[in-house]
């Protein structure tokens, strides 16, 4: 089975500061991978590289076997053009911590925008598909509401529908629940969990350790721009090898 | 008896304004202008010395009150003669016949009044804003466009920037502009809307009025014509027609 996501020797620098110092990992089809680690360890940056929201300056990221962001021209890495970038971005679906719904559009239009403008789908068909996904995340009844009329949890569920409706090869979640009121966290986690159970390939950055343990096939622990340890959740959470991970797990709440 | 009072005093007191060239305005602290020169002509007649005159600055609505309260001996301030005013003060003989004329830029597309008139609605005339402004212009140029501006300044700017083909304004002002900008403007050669400017004195003083009238008439038609004509030329840029010998034409 070829992996959906393959990251090889990924390096990323902000000015002087090297934030990713050589990352290697893969995500197989249908696999759910959680990335955990202390604040500032580079989790968000890694995820944003997968979606090309950040450029990276060394290493490769392959999505569905296709190297993204760069191609080789006469042995040189060349940043690909804007249309290509846009197309490659649509191969992954991103869910942000701050939801980032388009505030001037209804929930439905948030979902159909990409379908009609990027996929070029006719509107009736886009609406049908959007309705399907809004239903799946339990937001069909609110399809005509503006984001400002929705709670945080509801907004995040619309954001998930928006991303997944584009049929990405892999869904990326960056702390999808940490901007939510505690009583809203559950509904979003539930939505993610049910997508996972249906076999959606996913990469989650999360601080919800219990959730990461329950839902993931693999957990990746990052430490200062490197992967310090990775493996199945049972092993990582019950028998952490590195002292860093042991310390990290001690301070995290389950 | 004003005449005696003036002679005893040794100085004539003339009420006039300070901000309306070429009639009366201030230049180096001196009141000058055509109205001022009329004062000098009267002083010449009284004392044989044109400098024995004092000008009292008054606003135009103070012209009649100042006469009635004897603050001034005479008002010479571009005063239009009307029957209504003549019921309150005594007017002297007119010393200028004001009217409206058309000023154009030299070398403009239209040579003179006839050309303007022939151009019909193709021309624009700039005029000071006034209720009657449009009607007044249309008496002379029935089809012209009329642009009304808020100040004298803007009218001339309109003409100079060729926003307007002609300016309709008082003949005296027109002449003053032409004189001060020699070679720039031309007179379209048509004037209308005549009215007379005269000095005014307090009523019920026939001897004083007679004296002033005689002095003015002799300045316009008699021995003092030189003085009147020089002033006229200085302020209006042209000499008035010289009196003819023989039959006194003004009596015709």
């Amino acid at each position: 089975m070829t992996p959906i996501v393959e990251v090889r020797d990924l390096h990323k620098r902000f000015g002087e500061l090297e934030v990713l110092k050589g990352i290697d990992f893969t995500v197989a089809e249908g696999e759910v991978v959680s990335i955990i680690g202390a604040s500032g360890s580079g989790k968000t940056t890694l995820l944003r590289c997968l979606n090309l929201l950040e450029e990276f300056h060394r290493g490769d990221v392959l999505i569905g076997g296709e190297a993204i962001g760069y191609h080789l021209r006469r042995g040189q890495r060349v940043r690909i053009g804007e249309r290509e970038v846009a197309r490659q971005r649509a191969m992954t679906g991103m869910v942000f911590q701050a939801f980032n719904l388009f505030p001037h559009m209804s929930a439905l239009d948030n979902v159909t925008l990409g379908l009609t403008k990027v996929r070029g789908m006719p509107r009736p068909q886009a609406v049908e598909l959007a309705d399907h996904w809004l239903d799946r995340v339990g937001m069909l009844k609110r399809r005509d509401h503006r984001p400002s009329q929705l709670s945080g949890g509801q907004q995040q569920r619309v954001a998930i529908a928006r991303a997944i409706a584009m049929s990405p090869k892999v869904m990326l979640f960056d702390e999808a629940t940490s901007a939510l009121d505690p009583e809203r966290v559950g509904e979003v986690l539930e939505t993610i969990r049910s997508l996972a159970q249906e076999g959606m390939t996913m990469v989650l950055v999360t601080h919800e350790m219990r959730f990461a343990r329950d839902v993931s096939d693999k957990v990746v622990f990052m430490e200062d721009g490197r992967i310090a340890e990775q493996g199945p959740p049972q092993r990582l959470f019950l028998n952490p090898e590195s002292p860093r991970l042991q310390a990290f797990l001690k301070t995290s709440s389950f | 008896d004003t005449l005696q009072t003036v002679l005893d005093r040794g100085e004539l007191i003339v009420g006039t304004g300070s901000s309306n060239p070429p009639w009366h305005f201030t230049d180096n602290g001196q009141t000058v202008g055509f109205d001022a020169d009329i004062g000098h002509i009267l002083a010449q007649g009284l004392f044989n010395d044109p400098s024995k005159v004092r000008f009292v600055n008054q606003s135009s609505d103070a012209r009649i009150p100042n006469l009635l309260t004897n603050k001034v001996d005479i008002s010479c301030q571009g005063m239009t003669v009307t029957a209504a005013r003549a019921q309150q003060v005594a007017f002297t003989v007119p010393y200028y016949r004001e009217g409206v004329g058309l000023l154009m830029l030299k070398g403009s597309d239209y040579a003179d009044y006839d050309a303007l008139k022939a151009a019909g609605s193709d021309i624009t005339v700039a005029v000071l804003q006034n209720v009657y402004a449009e009607e007044m212009v249309h008496q002379a140029l029935p089809e012209a466009e009329v642009d009304q501006y808020e100040s004298q300044n803007l009218i001339y700017q309109a003409l100079n920037s060729r926003r307007a083909n002609a300016v309709a304004t008082d003949l005296s002002t027109l002449k003053w502009y032409m004189k001060n900008n020699a070679g720039r403007y031309i007179d379209a050669g048509y004037s209308w809307n005549p009215q007379s400017y005269a000095c005014a004195v307090s009523p019920d003083d026939q001897r004083w009025l007679n004296f002033v009238n005689t002095t003015l008439e002799e300045a316009m038609y008699g021995v003092e014509f030189q003085r009147y004509a020089d002033a006229f030329e200085q302020w209006f840029g042209e000499r008035p027609p010289a009196p003819q010998t023989g039959f006194p034409a003004e009596m015709r």
Binding site: - | E150, S151, Q152, N153, L154, Y156, Q157, N160, S161, N180, N181, R184
Partner: protein
């Protein structure tokens, strides 16, 4: 274009231009100073006044701000004469600009005062200050800081609005320029010159405002 003629004319008319600029300064300064004092009173009345104080102040602000400045200038000039006030053009113009400035300052101050948190008023009360003291020591000094940059923008507006006095015959910079133009017909050059002078004045004021705005440590806004 004959630039030597233009420069000669500038030199010939330098006294008039300076005088016009001085009048522009004078009338703007009068309007800003007196208008600010009046505006502070109005701003306080609108923000903290009881009904009989607040309403007239609000009405004043809305009426003056709803009227074009040119109309204000003309109305002040003609109406003051009609009701027997013997103002000359300069006085009428200065009055009109003052009224205009006061409405601006009133509105600016209202905005500034209302942006201050209620909690500070309560804290002042809690230590036993009367409203008088709270206003003097707590609200007003802060409102001044907030309002200063906008107030300086208002000063620029006053200088710009002073050009409208040319219409009623105040020989400020613009009318002076027009008078010069009526003698030498250099319309474009002299309007350009006037524009440059106005720009320099306004730009200078604006920069001073920026400078002060940066220097003042802005109190952090809180909405508790």
């Amino acid at each position: 274009m004959d630039w030597t003629y233009f420069f000669n004319e500038v030199v010939n008319n330098r006294d008039a231009l300076l005088h016009g600029t001085a009048i522009t300064f004078a009338v703007s300064l009068i309007a800003i100073l007196t208008g600010t004092v009046l505006g502070i009173v109005i701003g306080i009345a609108v923000t903290y006044g009881n009904k009989p104080l607040r309403w007239p102040a609000r009405l004043y602000i809305d009426i003056i701000r709803g009227t074009p400045v040119l109309v204000l200038v003309l109305a002040t000039f003609y109406v003051s004469a009609a009701v027997g006030l013997n103002f000359n053009a300069f006085q009428a113009g200065a009055l009109a600009l003052t009224l205009f400035c006061a409405s601006h300052v009133g509105e600016i101050l209202r905005g500034a005062l209302q942006s201050l948190s209620r909690g500070q008023i309560e804290a002042g009360r809690a230590i036993g200050l009367t409203f008088d003291g709270i206003f003097r020591y707590i609200l007003f000094p802060q409102a001044l800081r907030y309002a200063l940059p906008t107030w300086i923008t208002a000063a620029v507006e006053m200088v710009k609005a002073s050009t409208l006095l040319s219409v009623i015959g105040v020989a400020e910079l613009l009318l002076t320029t027009q008078q010069i133009i009526s003698n030498n017909f250099l319309n474009m050059q002299f309007y350009l010159l006037a524009g440059v002078i106005y720009f320099l004045i306004d730009f200078a004021i604006e920069q001073v405002g920026r400078f002060i705005g940066r220097r003042l440590d802005q109190p952090t806004r809180r909405t508790v």
